[in-house]
Symmetry: C2
Subunit: 136 residues, 2 copies
DNA sequence: ATGCACCCTGTAGCAACTACAGGGTCAAGC
DNA sequence: GCTTGACCCTGTAGTTGCTACAGGGTGCAT
């Protein structure tokens, strides 16, 4: 299949597919006589793997490691587990951070009663961290 | 005060301060005879405002709008409220997304029982979105 | 006078794309 | 046979919000 078809099949921007090839995340496919990229099923499933991992928030470098693992099925699975576990921890930390931030924002907004900027509680709160109730 | 002092006073990297000046978020300060930047209290509180807003996750462009508002204290406060409310919504959406993602990751990792990559449930799950229980 | 901490400008790098510009290819329809 | 339009190619530059140099100047203490 050509790049446009692969793009539709995986929900990946064409430019992104070429970008992945350029950085060596996807192997360079064969070419047609007209120099068009020509992909097969192996390419499609590799790209699906990459997209799914990106959707789950893995970095390109993490995905590179995961791909290396899946390319060599005799290797131990520990590393995949370690990468995924560390990533899960990061996600949980991010959620915790954002939750503090949400509470702080809600508190700031709740104090706004309209009126002019000189009296604006939002602006005042942003000016002065000491109004905050938690660290962020 | 000189830039190093302002940096320490606000917990902002020196390069970041110069960057904010370059993009027009902070006004260019006066200079000493030796061409060193020389800051006053107004600069420090403006920078604190910026840092605090950044910590709360506002973009540079949002901060620009908030600064414009606070520079003109006769203006209505509605816009500050709108910016903050929209931002809060985005934060809430991000938390919801990350929570789905966390559940999915936890589920994937829970299935890993060690062994070799060919049997790895983590890698299998990443290959195939259809194993997922929710959208992400 | 020489070390050291500090300051300056300007440019390039990071992640992970995205968006062109400027061109080539191919099939359908007139 | 010629145009139209959809598709493809390469290469480069832009995005956000910084961060990290390189290569130089300044100011003060020893």
């Amino acid at each position: 299949m050509k790049i446009g078809e692969l793009s539709r099949a995986t929900g990946t921007n064409i430019e992104t597919i070429r970008y992945y090839e350029r950085i060596g995340l996807l192997p360079a496919p064969g070419r047609t006589a007209a120099n068009y990229r020509s992909y097969g099923d192996a390419h499609r499933s590799r790209l699906s793997f990459v997209r799914h991992s990106r959707d789950l928030g893995f970095t390109i470098e993490e995905i590179r490691s995961l791909l290396d693992l899946s390319d060599d099925p005799t290797r131990e699975c520990d590393e995949a587990d370690r990468i995924a576990t560390r990533h899960l921890e990061q996600v949980e930390e991010k959620i915790a951070q954002l939750s503090l931030l949400r509470d702080e924002l809600a508190r700031i907004i709740g104090r706004c009663r309209g009126g002019i900027a000189a009296d604006c509680r939002v602006i005042e709160a942003l000016s002065d961290h000491s109004h905050c109730e938690n660290a962020h």
